[in-house]
């Protein structure tokens, strides 16, 4: 019985949480709105809304025994009522207290523990009593009645509000009427309303139809997953049709054999060779076969019909299911005003956020995926784009910067989002300088680069991170992640900027998580899918067409040489034995991020519809693999990440893997040059690298190493720092000063671990700096793998 009660309470709490989240969201956005309103008269309306929210939340939390929430809401309610009556704009400090309280309520509702409940409560109470005493001075000090009145008022806010409005501010009345007129004469949700930004923000109409139901998202997701699984049934049905047609072909062949006595082996049997009994058997077989043929052809027809029907049904089901999961873009943008507020306050900047078109509907899964990228993007705009108020004033701009998000439907299945800030813009030359400093591009390449190309460098994963891989530092983050996420969802992201005026990020996103056309390819006996739109062409070439240019294999396509690498090498797979034996080689040309690379594959199997599935939380990000899909026959096949492939392929030279085209099975290993004066360290590193499959040459100091480098080519240098004759720093500097070795990765392994030493390493141009203390071989190998 008791347990039954517990269960009930638990259910109640779950319901409460959903309700509470709505109230909290509403209060937060109300507060944010209030901060922007400088007209006391307009404030009343908003206060009424958030007062009601606080009041309802108070009642609800009492029902589920959350006393702390109840207490805070009680105070919030009174404070809202008091400010409402005061009819003047509260200070930023007051808003800070209110926001903090709402944050606290949120934590409590989520079931978290609050460290400083008393502090927050005390602050709110002192605000309450301050307001109350003020009130006391104004009127005749009937505290109790003030409270009561406030409550009463909230009961019928609609009427009172309008009565009050009309008198003090005629303009406000006008504005209040406008939307009403619109809804009376034009279509609901018509475009023009969106042009007025506050209207859009105020809108959030709480549509409460009686025929709406509330369902946990998890249940919908599971239905969607099952609906998506029907796609394999559809593909399987197609497969059966193909299989049946194959059987018909085999039967036809068999039929011919019996008819003409011509066997597959070439042996011919004349009717006269057969005795009577055998002839009878043959005749009987022919008759049976005819029957079989009839049965199968009927079956094929019904299978075709079935496949067509199933395909129609599944497509409709999926379409409807996706429709169900569509949410307005505002669901994503709702959290943004708070984030923008917090970020800008932290930075001492003033930011006004404008959103337009937030009613455009998008698949919930896309919105979910886009939340972090959006925060990233906003952070970027506020951090780097917008100037501080004083600086803006000097430039003749308004003190507060504007950050706008404009969402529009581009076509049935695509939306366009522009995130714009009116800050300082991106200066191409600065980007070039940083990129050259960090070794992302060479100085020569920078000179050739157009401004647009240079600005695009901010999406390079190495751009925003520290240029050196240390044993602790992370990997590339920032804008690269945003672009990757967008591209993974099948969208695109570009940037345009006007120095001094501002920056726009333009994003195109699909409306739903769509299926796409994919090509099934085989490499080293593994089947992979690659999105069709990223494959420029597939073709067969003759081995003689492959040329070696500057240590890399290339092939001429359309008059231009393209790098040619094995897909299996790129994916770190063992090359299959019997591939590349025939007269022709199969290749596919992949184009990602405007980079084209030709991949050598075993075969192209077919093209088909493909639904992307994530690899699960455990495999958050796998190099070169974007996800997986389930084929009609139930087989799971990895989907290749074209952008990664192109990048990975860039690091493969002719030394890695066996030479393409030259049909010798000699496996060339990657080569590493070691410079180390201590014999123990030298042997240790050499052993580690050799057993990891590298070709290793060990030298005793920088000078020795540099000489070796002149004599033969290496893929990477591992060097100690303190060495006689030429130190690791000097060696690195010398390598970097020679253009021939500009791309050659250098890893410094050293006992020196101060910040200064590290920085010297960076200055000299080392790619990684590994400290000997706590040296771990897997760490070294990992860094090497990352570099070559």
């Amino acid at each position: 019985m008791n347990q039954h009660d517990d269960g009930f309470l638990e259910e109640l709490r779950a319901m409460f949480k959903i309700e509470a989240e709505e109230h909290i969201k509403s209060i937060t956005s109300g507060l944010l709105q209030l901060e922007k309103i400088d007209n006391a008269a307009k404030m009343g309306q908003v206060f009424d809304v958030i007062f009601r929210d606080a009041h309802s939340l108070k009642g609800a939390s009492r029902a589920v025994n959350l006393i702390d929430v109840e207490t805070l809401c009680q105070s919030l309610e009174s404070v809202f009522a008091l400010i409402r009556r005061r009819e003047s704009v509260p200070s930023a400090d007051v808003f800070d207290i209110l926001h903090r309280t709402v944050d606290a309520v949120e934590i409590l509702v989520e079931g978290g523990t609050l460290k400083d409940f008393d502090g927050i409560h005390a602050q709110l109470q002192s605000l309450e009593s301050a307001l109350e005493s003020e009130k006391g001075e104004d009127t005749s000090g009937k505290k109790k009645s003030v409270k009561k009145e406030a409550k009463k008022e909230s009961g019928k806010p609609g009427k009172k509000k309008q009565e009050k409005k009309a008198a003090p501010d005629a303009g406000a009345e006008d504005k209040a009427k406008k939307p009403m007129q619109k809804s009376a004469y034009s279509e609901p949700q018509a475009g023009p309303a969106e042009d007025d930004m506050p209207a859009d923000e105020l809108e959030a109409p709480k549509v409460e139809f009686a025929d709406t139901i509330r369902l946990p998202v998890s249940r919908l997701d599971s239905i969607l997953l099952q609906a998506e699984d029907m796609l394999s049934a559809k593909l399987a049905a197609d497969q059966y049709v193909t299989d049946l047609k194959n059987i018909t072909r085999i039967i036809d062949e068999w039929h011919r054999t019996l008819e003409k006595g011509q066997m597959k082996t070439g042996v011919r049997i004349a009717a006269s060779d057969l005795d009577e009994k055998t002839s009878a058997v043959v005749q009987d077989s022919q008759d049976q076969l005819k029957n079989l043929d009839k049965v199968i052809s009927d079956m094929t027809k019904s299978a075709e019909l079935n496949a067509r029907q199933l395909s129609g049904m599944v497509n409709n089901l999926l379409k409807d299911m996706k429709q169900i999961l569509m949410l307005p873009f505002s669901t994503l943008l709702k959290v943004m005003p708070k984030i923008v507020r917090d970020l800008s306050r932290d930075q001492g900047k003033e930011v006004q956020l404008i959103t337009k078109g937030s009613t455009v509907e998008v698949d919930r899964r896309i919105l979910e995926e886009m939340k972090d990228p959006f925060i990233h993007l906003f952070r970027n705009c506020i951090d780097h784009g917008l100037e501080k108020p004083d600086e803006r004033e000097k430039l003749g701009k308004p003190r507060s910067g504007t950050l706008s998000v404009i969402v529009s439907q581009k076509s049935g299945d695509k939306i366009h989002i522009e995130v714009h800030d009116d800050g300082r813009g991106i200066i191409a030359d600065n980007i070039k300088r940083v990129a050259v400093d960090r070794g992302i591009i060479t100085a020569a390449a920078a000179d050739d680069m157009s401004d647009e190309e240079a600005v695009d460098l901010i999406f390079q994963s190495d751009f925003s991170t520290s240029p050196i891989i240390t044993d602790i530092s992370g990997r590339g983050i920032g804008m690269a992640i945003v672009r990757e996420k967008v591209e993974k969802l099948g969208g695109s992201l570009s940037v345009s900027t006007t120095p001094g005026k501002g920056t726009s990020f333009n994003m195109v996103l699909p409306v739903t998580v769509a299926t796409f056309r994919g090509i099934l390819v085989k490499a080293s006996d593994h089947v992979f899918v690659i999105p069709t739109h990223l494959v420029e062409r597939t073709m067969r070439i003759k081995p003689e067409e492959i040329k070696t240019v500057e240590n890399r294999t290339t092939i001429l396509i359309g008059g231009k040489p393209l790098p040619l690498v094995r897909l299996s090498d790129t994916l770190e797979l063992k090359a299959s034995e019997d591939a590349e034996q025939g007269e022709f080689l199969q290749i596919m040309v992949v184009n990602a991020n405007n980079e084209r690379i030709a991949f050598l594959i075993d075969e192209v199997q077919k093209e088909q519809e493909v639904l992307v599935k994530g690899l699960g939380k455990q495999l958050q990000r796998v190099r070169n693999i974007a996800g997986a899909t389930v084929l009609g026959n139930g087989k799971v096949v990895p989907i290749l990440n074209a952008a990664d492939l192109v990048k990975s392929a860039g690091t493969i030279t002719i030394q890695s893997g066996k030479r393409i085209g030259a049909q010798e099975a000699k496996v060339e290993k990657k080569s590493i040059l070691i410079a180390e004066d201590s014999i123990t360290s030298r042997t240790l590193i050499k052993n580690i690298l050799t057993s990891a499959g590298y070709r290793v040459k060990a030298t005793v100091d920088g000078m020795d190493a540099y000489t070796a480098l002149k004599e033969e080519a290496f893929d990477l240098v591992v060097s100690d720092v303190e060495m006689p004759r030429m130190s690791g720093f000097e060696l690195t500097a010398k390598i970097r000063s020679d253009e021939k070795y500009a791309e050659l990765p250098v890893i410094l392994v050293t006992g020196l671990e101060t910040k200064e030493d590290r920085e010297r390493g960076i200055d000299a141009g080392a790619n990684a700096y590994i400290v000997k203390r706590g040296f771990d071989q897997s760490n070294l190998l990992e860094v090497i793998q990352r570099l070559i």
Partner: protein, 197 residues
């Protein structure tokens, strides 16, 4: 102290005739019994679990050693039918498989524990562990049964870290069943793969 720890294993002992007698219950009665049991199981709260002196473990065999994992972490058990290797993943990730439309990564905890693969194993049973934020599939050679263990029968693991596996062991029973710490495995950042090119 150690009273009848192998109790659940012993039902195998009674003679076959006795067993069939035991099961010679009418179907309706059986159903009723099952229903009652199901209800009892259903209402058992988490706190209840803490109070009880026993835990249920799924017992499985891997590379000729017997392991146990607390059954509340085990979501489902399947025969492994399909396994697609995924390139560019660490060696302990054997591949991925699809369970009702959801992709589940399959890992070999033996490799994850850096245990030498000294014997050939068949690894054809997939056990799906349910963590707070993710599901992980681990492979076993044979999945034996669910058995109830007295908590007092689980001894602390022997001191002295011999290998990586040692860190993921909760305890060992006197009949050498190694009880794994499912929570530690599921929350270990090392089992996640998050690599950039």
């Amino acid at each position: 102290m150690k009273k009848d720890g192998t109790k659940p294993a012993s039902p195998a002992a009674p003679a076959a005739s006795e067993l069939s007698e035991m099961f010679a219950v009418s179907d309706s009665m059986k159903k009723q019994l099952l229903r009652i049991r199901a209800q009892e199981l259903a209402v058992e709260s988490v706190e209840e679990e803490h109070r009880s002196d026993t835990i249920d473990v799924v017992e499985f065999e891997l590379a000729h050693e017997r392991y146990g994992i607390e059954s509340r972490w085990v979501k489902e058990v399947f025969p492994l039918r399909e396994l697609t290797p995924v390139p560019c993943t660490p060696s302990f990730i054997l591949g991925i498989t699809s369970i009702r439309g959801q992709i589940i990564p399959v890992m070999d905890i033996k490799t994850f524990f850096d245990l030498p693969s000294t014997s050939i194993t068949n690894l054809n049973r997939l056990m799906i562990l349910r963590g707070e934020e993710m599901h992980v599939g681990i492979l076993a050679d044979v999945i034996e049964s669910v058995r109830e263990l007295e908590k007092t029968d689980i001894h602390e693991k022997p001191g002295g870290r011999v290998d990586k596996r040692h860190d993921y062991i909760k305890g060992v029973t006197k009949d050498h069943l190694i009880i794994l710490d499912a929570k530690k495995i599921l929350t270990d950042p090392d089992i996640k793969v998050n690599e950039d090119v």
